[in-house]
Structure formats: C-alpha cells, structure tokens
Amino acid sequence: MGLVAIDTSSGFFGDIDPTDSAETYQPKWSPKIPQEGFQMLSSNTGVVQRAVLISNVWRYCQIDPKECDVWANVILKDTYETVYLTENESDIITSGNVVVLEGEGHLVVSPENTYLNAIYHLPNVKAVVLESTYDVKCFITILDKRNLETREKIYDVEMRMFDQYPDEQFDFSIYCIDKKKEIDLVLKNKEILYYKD
C-alpha cells in the first residue's frame, strides 16, 4: 500500500495573519523525512485556521464530512502541539505529519511524528534521531542528564507505539550524553528528527 503525503505547500497551516505572526522561526536542523510529509516552518506563522485545515483534509481524504472533521481536529491539535506549545522555546522543528493511506481514505500519523510529538518536550530531551534498517525503525533519544522520570515517560510512549503500529518493527534506546561533541558524533549520518541547541 502506497503512502501519499498531504500537500502542505499551500494554505495547509491557514492563512497567515501578519499582525499575529511576530516571530520568525529559524530551525537549526532539517528533518529528513520529506517523503512522509514533514515540513519545516521556516517563515512567519500565524494562527492556524481550522476552516482551511478542514478544506485541505477534504481535498485529500474524500471520505464523509464527519470523519474529515474528526481528522481535522486531530491535525489541528497536532499542529498546535508541535508549533504553538513550543513557541516560547523557539525550538520548532516539524509541522503535523499526516499521510493518507491510498485507497482507504484514512488519515494516519507516521510513527516518527507520533513518537516525536510525545517526547520532545520532556525535560532533558536534547535530540531524537532515527536509524532505520530495512525492517526496523530504531529511535534513539538523547538526554543531557540521566533523568529516570523522563525515561519512564518515554518508555510509556514506546509501549503505546507497539499498539498503535502493529505492522511496524521498532527498537528504542535512550542515551545519556552531556557533552555537545559527543552528541554531535551520535547525530552524524543519522536522520535527525529533533535537536535542541
């Protein structure tokens, strides 16, 4: 089954209201999963307009309005969580990563985005990278301190991932590294999903 990314190039995040978008986001890292719809917010962003979201969902999902509406809310929430809740930290990296399963018309959120959205804001999370083999997605989270509470919250997310994506194979690791040089070595040649400078 093929995956088709929703086209987010025009209007997906709503019309930008210049009076509302005082901040400019300058992300430091580019997520490398464009084929699944990750998109950087590299320009000014304003309020996400729900109506525009719904119309975009409509364009692609081609299912009944009620379901589209439900998914629009999911996307809206997702977008707010990833974009707006982190606004003060200016560490924005991704927008909602929503894909349409071809032929079935259901919208799903990729494992990368589900994992990332659930953990990137936790204390001491410094980076999240993906190292995939042909059949296993290996998520590596780097903490800058051995924070057992954060680790346990991430473990909960991992368990949910197994339930949410029964057809995927995952491996998870959490590294504790406090030196930037050593973190850079881990990030080298890996797919960086998140990095907080």
Partner: protein, 134 residues
C-alpha cells in the same frame, strides 16, 4: 536455541563473574557490573520466552515483553537496565553504588522475582546481588 535450563545456567555464570568483579570494592567497575546485570535480566526474559517456544532476536525482545501480559509489567525495568548498560558499554558511564542500589539492582531483582515466580524457580536459586553492593 537454548532452553530455560541453559538460560538459567548462563545467569549463574554471569553472577559468578559479577561477584568477582564487585569484590572487594563494588564501585571499581560499576560499568561492567551494570552490563552483566542487564544480561542476567535478558536471560531471565529469554528463559520465560523459551517456555513459549519463542527465541527472539535482540530488537524483538522489547516487542515480546510488551506482548506477553506477564512480562508487560517488566517493560520499564528492562528498558532502564538496557539503557544504563548501553551507557556503560558505549559511553563509559559509571554509576555510584548508591545509584546501583536505587536503580539497577532493584530493577533486576524485580525482574528476577517475577520470572522465578512464574517459572517456579526455588528461592534458593536466586542471585542475591545486593550482598555485593554494600
């Protein structure tokens, strides 16, 4: 593929190595102690899975722990051991004896108690690792 008895033998071998490594001063090599204790826990998980005729490769172990209801409560403890042992092996992290007792030893003991209870392993066959980290 090794069966339950073989896995329990490996645990005992590892425990002997741990005893040597931790005497006289357990704080000397906590990085290697953590690694050995993780592998002891891993073999307990494998001992359980072998009774289900499951012999998963390394990355599949987590999925299996999540899958079996009796193992599921051990997921977090196993993950803590895995992460601490990787930090020890690959990044040279050494925990203090205090942190060992507060974390690594406790997580291992919980896994050991649970698996021994499920597999009816006598109390006397358990490894009392606390004795070596005082």
């Amino acid at each position: 593929m090794p069966g339950k008895t073989k896995h329990l033998d490996i645990i005992n071998d590892n425990f002997e190595a741990l005893c040597h490594l931790s005497s006289p001063d357990p704080s000397d090599h906590t990085n290697w102690s953590t690694t050995i204790i993780f592998y002891m826990a891993l073999h307990y998980i494998h001992a359980y899975l072998s009774k289900k005729n499951e012999h998963p490769t390394s990355h599949k172990v987590l999925e299996k722990i999540k899958f079996y209801p009796k193992l599921k409560p051990l997921y977090q403890k196993y993950r803590h051991l895995k992460d601490d042992s990787e930090d020890a092996r690959y990044r040279g992290k050494k925990l203090s004896v205090y942190d060992m007792r507060r974390g690594v030893l406790k997580w291992f003991s919980d896994i050991q108690d649970e698996i021994c209870s499920i597999l009816n392993i006598p109390q006397g066959n358990k490894c009392n690792i606390y004795d070596y980290f005082t």
